[in-house]
């Protein structure tokens, strides 16, 4: 009996120390049969809810990525900007594709795969306003300022362009007001503007096509799921190599005259 006890004790000692070392791997969402994806429902072209169906570029990208990760079903869930990190942390959603920019501050709380697209801040003006080629030509014009958004600062404060601000509750409103002349320019992420322009009609507005920031749209993941991050990066590479990305960008933003990048972005790293 003594021998057996010794064996068991030794096995336990070795086992416990071994487990402590082996336990470094965290759980991953790779291979889940049903994936819950966080998307937006109020951004036409990117993530919108139309007649009970989620649609948009982000939604299509999410479906492609989920399939590549091995999922058979995808469930979309609305994620508001303020609750994204918390929903990932609690595991209420598996990943986020919702014009979610990668920033150093957010990276402290969540992990990012991608970016799957690098959007740029650009400016939408009336098609008839041919004199605007660059953000500095906005001097003296009426720029829309959306409550809670910082995009206008990049024009007025960082570029020190002398614009007058017109406050509006949303970018949708801003775009709609271009037509009647109550604003002259709307400036924010080009994909968001392209989606809105697609809704209001693309013939009356045009892009200045003078991008001045990089907004790296990443796939948000629970902190520590490196395996999923790497698998998604690989899937994004494939999405660009097999032409899906080009097709999806064309499908959602092709008619707007926006200059689209159809080659794989530089990843953030996992």
């Amino acid at each position: 009996m003594r021998v057996r006890h010794a064996v068991i004790a030794a096995a336990l000692v070795l086992g416990v120390s071994g487990c402590g070392l082996a336990g470094a791997q965290t759980s991953t969402i790779v291979g889940k049969e049903t994936m819950i994806v966080g998307v937006k429902i109020d951004q036409p072209g990117l993530g919108a809810l139309k007649k009970g169906r989620n649609e948009g570029f982000d939604v299509d990208v999410a479906a492609y990525l989920a399939r590549k990760l091995g999922a058979k079903n995808v469930v979309y869930k609305e994620t508001k900007s303020a609750e994204r990190e918390e929903m990932l942390r609690q595991g209420k959603i598996d990943f986020i594709v919702a014009s979610y920019s990668i920033t150093a501050e957010r990276k402290v709380k969540v992990d990012f795969a991608g970016p799957y697209y690098v959007a740029h801040q650009d400016t939408l003006v009336r098609a008839s306003d041919t004199g605007i080629d660059d953000v500095r030509d906005l001097a003296g014009k009426k720029l829309c300022q959306v409550t809670g958004s910082n995009s206008w600062r990049r024009v007025k404060e960082e570029r020190k362009v002398n614009v007058s601000l017109v406050e509006m509750p949303s970018y949708r409103e801003c775009t709609a007001k271009l037509a009647d002349g109550s604003v002259d320019a709307v400036s924010t992420d080009d994909l968001i503007l392209a989606g809105l322009a697609g809704e209001t009609g693309t013939s009356s507005v045009r892009f200045v096509n003078a991008p001045f920031t990089d907004e790296r749209y990443g796939v948000g993941l629970k902190k520590g799921d490196v395996a999923a991050c790497e698998a998604i990066n690989r899937a994004i590479s494939e999405m660009y190599l097999d032409g899906t990305a080009k097709e999806l960008l064309g499908k959602w933003f092709g008619r707007t005259g926006l200059k689209l990048t159809v080659t794989v972005p530089q990843f953030e790293g996992c």
Partner: protein
Amino acid sequence: MTAPPLTPAPGGEPQATAAIAHPQGNTTAVVGTPPDPMQSLAPAPRPARAPRRRTVPGRIRTQAAVCLFAVAVMFGGTFWAIGNVRDGLSVIGEDAGPQVVATADMYFALSDMDAQVANVLLIGRETGLGTGKDKAVQRYEQRRAEVGKALLLASDLAMGDPTEKRTVEALLNGFGRYQQLAERAMLLNQQAAHPAGPPPAQVISVYREATDLMRLDLLPKAYNLTLESGTIVRQTYEEEYLAINIGRIVVGVVGLGTLAALVVIQVFLARRFRRVTNPALLVATVTVGVLTVAAVLLLGNGAEGLRKAKEEGFNSVLAMSRARAIGNTMHGDQSRYLLDPERADTYEQVYLDNSQKVLFTPGGSLDKYYVGVDKVVAAYPGSIGFLGFHGDEAGSVMNRPDEKAALVRVLKGYQRFQQADRQMRLLANAQKGAEAIGERMGDLSRGFQAYDNALVDLIKLHGGTFDEEIKKGDASLGGWDWLLPGAALAAAVLILLGVRPRLSEYR
């Protein structure tokens, strides 16, 4: 002890314990059955073999067989676990690890090509600026050759992976197109023979095509290849690390089981034959004991070495190589900012974004960023007030004085580089184009070089840790090729030698 109802577990412990514990009521009926013929007869389908089992030579044979089997399992387990250490070292040390360095160098060379083209276009016909136009052309050509070599290597290494292979192919095609565009821009520039500053529109428009191809298409692909190699290293590391630790447990448990079996047979022989020691079996026991301890220690060291190579060497080499790659594109963006006034805003913004990837401190504009950098660099190493690549590095070298000192030099270099950048932009904004170009080619260029050199030194330190651990791991495995089979074979022979004289007494 081989009758069907008593079929022993492969480890040989059940009958070992039964033999020592006998007679004991609380052992389970199946395992601890005393040699009572009536009990085992009841379910036994082959009663004819039952009597043989209970003879003394039969028991010696069975116990010796159990010991030999245990030694064989021990040998197999150790062999497998050591194989994992070897695989881990080879993938990390010889395949993916060096590939990371090779692709990071390729990124650097690509990015520097584009920066040199921008310099050539910016300098124009001027001769007294920095190291001059000819030097820039030379460097462009040198980098071009480096990229060509790195691409060949990358396509070799990407053989097994279809996605990687297509990425390398796309890179090869794009690289050819880039050279055409860049060389056309330089030719047009030569013909224009303009003074230092922005070249004619025709030159700029060709360069834009070239730099867009480089920055939006080629550089991301090269960067992603580096990351992909990092992924392979991480996955290999985690798999092998886990396997080595499982192997360590298996070797430890099987080793103890073997020892137990050897003790049992010796106790049995001592009681039966009234001899206190059996020298051969004693030596076999010591051999197995030493082998078990040595193997467990070796595997522990192997796992730790792999961990150190990965966490303290490789991770930082990868991160700092990425920081270096991005730093080089930032330096290029400074030339592009001066070269193409229409896109100056974009290049400035990209410069800020990249700066924040390298060293993050809050602030939405360059003016605020410069102030932030001055503040956090002055506070380091007292406090780590920044994120980004250098922030992560600061966190990981906390307890490593050499690396920490090297990081201080990197940060100071970065700060001076940013200060020179500020100077250049101030001059450019004050419409002093010529002075701004002078700053870019002079102070700023030297500042960048100093920063980059400090970064290279830091990478070398981590690379040293990496190489050292890989080498140590390889060296520690060296003797085991003959030591392990030798020791196992010796133990087996000793067991046979130990039981042979006892068995011969029954002939």
